[in-house]
Symmetry: C2
Subunit: 449 residues, 2 copies
């Protein structure tokens, strides 16, 4: 199987070749290029497609008008990607997609270019076969998801009329197991902060000043060590105050999910699965709030030895939130905690980078019920109802701004190494996604108006 024998794959590879890294200002032209490419692709299929500018990266908004009396489906996705670093750990160029062991390997293969493209190809196939679609179809594909969608809520508000739909369909996640169709009804929110500790005006010689001055790395390490207690709980005062606890029914449903801890250990290379005491691993991953330091730096990091006492140290840290935590409240509690635990001689600056609300979707809506039936037809198995630790900020925005049901159907796997080196998307799962998209669009043709 080579890309040449499947024209849709050649198209997907062309999109994957564009390094649309939204967090890096140097890649802004690539982000714009990816938007232009997608609009062109959708226009070629008969969509009206616009590129909507924002203060940073544009979004693509495209409509296919099948018939006024048909329901409207809004497919949301994103074409921006995470940075590829550490690039040296990739087996090849992150932006030169290849097929390897039945998997597409490239940054964005699964998150989210590959998944949103499965919906485009689903529509393309229906159009080629029937000349039209069973629903009116809108694509909203943004370029800022990986930086927290700073301009998307305003864009949705500004284009509320044009975005009206009977259901929002999002594929930016994972099945709970290969080939097991998964409808996700809960997402975590996010609160991302940057922390800087400063102890001196400059790095100082450890011979001249060792034993007499504060060390920014020591201060930061001690502060980080206060963030969790000995039993894995987040030790920031008030962190759990707003958390809606899991119901017994939910805990029972989680316990029934075919989740294999040994598989997860093998795929990730971890030798332990530490976390909050009193909860199962799946409960922690899907439904409990977490706090992780995402990066740290300070002092001399080059090759060899340099005998300095670092004057500055920085960390990036983020919390995954669950209902009813809010990023604003958690940011404030973290900031207050960090300032309180800073050692003598350490000046602390905390800066909020971005946040997103957590979301839960109603399970008894017609959209969810029709989607579950369509997935069972496409995959030949009943759908699992899941939650996830991932964050898709737009879900709560759609619910709030459009009042529309949101259905999340992940085509990828948790082991796709999204955000990590050697991201992949299984070719069979890409093709199942195309088939599922066709089944979902067909089913949504019966949505009550």
């Amino acid at each position: 199987m080579t890309p040449d024998s499947d024209p849709s794959l050649a198209d997907l590879f062309a999109l994957l070749r564009i390094p649309s890294i939204s967090t890096d200002p140097a890649h802004a032209p690539d982000v714009a290029r990816a938007a232009t490419w997608l609009a062109g692709k959708l226009r070629a299929l008969g969509f009206e497609a616009d590129i909507l500018a924002t203060p940073r990266h544009p979004a693509v908004l495209a409509h296919y008008h099948a018939a006024p009396d048909l329901p409207t489906v809004l497919v949301y996705g994103h074409y921006d990607v995470q940075p590829a670093d550490p690039v040296e750990l990739w087996r090849g160029d992150p932006f030169e997609p290849v097929l390897e062991d039945g998997k597409i390997r490239a940054r964005g293969a699964s998150d989210d270019k590959g998944q949103v493209f499965a919906h485009i190809v689903g529509a393309e196939q229906l159009l080629r076969e029937t000349g039209t679609l069973p629903v009116n179809l809108t694509f909203l594909i943004e370029g800022e998801e990986e930086i927290g969608s700073p301009n998307l809520a305003a864009l949705i508000r500004d284009h509320r009329d044009s975005l009206q739909a009977d259901v929002v369909l999002i594929s930016d996640g994972a099945m709970v197991a290969p080939g097991l169709p998964t409808l996700t009804y809960g997402l975590k929110g996010l609160c991302y902060l940057e922390l800087e500790v400063e102890t001196a005006a400059m790095d100082l010689h450890s011979g001249a000043f060792g034993g007499g001055v504060p060390n920014a790395v020591h201060a930061l390490a001690r502060m980080i060590a206060t963030l969790h207690d000995e039993e894995g709980r987040v030790a920031v005062p008030g962190f759990y105050d707003a958390v809606r606890d899991l119901s017994e029914a939910e805990r029972a449903a989680f316990a029934a999910v075919p989740f294999d801890e040994a598989d997860m250990r093998r795929e990730t290379g971890v030798s332990a699965t530490p976390g909050e005491a009193g909860y199962t691993l799946l409960e922690r991953l899907w439904a409990r709030p977490t706090l992780d330091v995402n990066g740290i730096g300070g002092g001399f990091q080059g090759a060899g030895a340099k005998t300095v006492i670092p004057a500055k140290a920085r960390a990036k840290l983020s919390c995954r939130l669950v209902p009813d935590q809010t990023p604003e409240d958690i940011a404030e509690k973290l900031r207050a905690h960090l300032i309180r635990v800073a050692p003598a001689g350490a000046r602390v600056a905390v800066q909020g980078l971005h946040g997103a609300l957590p979301a839960l979707t109603a399970l008894d809506s017609p959209a969810v019920q029709l989607a579950a039936a369509a997935l069972e037809r496409a995959y030949g198995k009943p759908a699992v109802f899941a939650r996830t630790g991932g964050t898709i900020p737009v879900v709560s925005t759609f619910q709030r701004e459009l009042g529309t049901d949101v259905v999340l159907v992940g085509f990828g796997l948790e082991t796709d190494r999204i955000h990590s080196p050697n991201e992949t998307f299984d070719l069979a799962h890409y093709r199942a996604g195309v088939a599922a998209s066709r089944a979902l669009l067909g089913a949504f043709g019966s949505l009550p108006r």
Copy 2:
């Protein structure tokens, strides 16, 4: 005052322009170039000069033979320098020396190119004025001091005959106060380690895996937080076992040194001077062993936000040692401690980068007494006898291999920002160093043979 009006300054600036950074393999040709330059300079003064190759960076060995019955002085120094990073904090190119507010600013201006060059110029002036020198004079100027002099001990052993001297004179340090001549009799040793913590095979998505996997940065931060107790003592078991405590006489002498903590705070920008409980600031700086993390890195450190759980984190850490600690023993104790405190799921690797023994010199030797008298003549003030937190590994090597007294006379200041951005060397102190060198060579002419 411009370099043009003082030919010795023009020469020194030429040497400072060579970025002889010994720790960085990319600068190896520059290190070699600095050695060639120095050998050329010394030959032009009438020295026999050789460039001695080592497995890494060469040393310059030069002899001036005045008369067989005169005493021999061996001046040791180093022409390699620390890295200049963070380069963006310099007010100009670190390797384009300038005179600014009466100070020479360049990497290496004080540590140690400027100080060793003061001795070369002292000899140059005596040769010009008298046609000879009052002693036989040997220069040994190495290129590996900033990486721990890995090949110097072997080189000294191999050239023991050629290096025989009646006194070793080293200027690679500081006066305790501007213009106050300082004879240093104690130096700290060094034990430098690199630590890596690994918790997973790759960085992991914090949404997919947050709450279920170990975080390498958390693990490393917790390990670093165990290195000191709440009262500033190093908490590594056995760390203080071999420490020779300060005598009451020494503590009284330290208390009499004109050391101004407010000055130190102003120069360094620290707002606190934390350290080991039970000792004065000067006792901690000069005579107590210390432990500092010199650098830390892990996870995402670029611009913006990346929601990963770091799989690896690294730290460089080093101890300054006092008699009778040894780098081997302290490295082993640190390694054992770090492995013991590593959290579940963290794989720890500890690598020794280099070490050096601490040293104490006898105060009642003729060399020290003659040097003190010469310094009083040159500066017009009695010399202070000091210890320092700095490390000059070669001191214990000279004592061991040659059996020769070592006299340390610093021409710089603790506030010269050595190892930091914007390193300087006061022009007046450079010139005082030239005068002191002349006085010392004259005095050493009376050394008993």
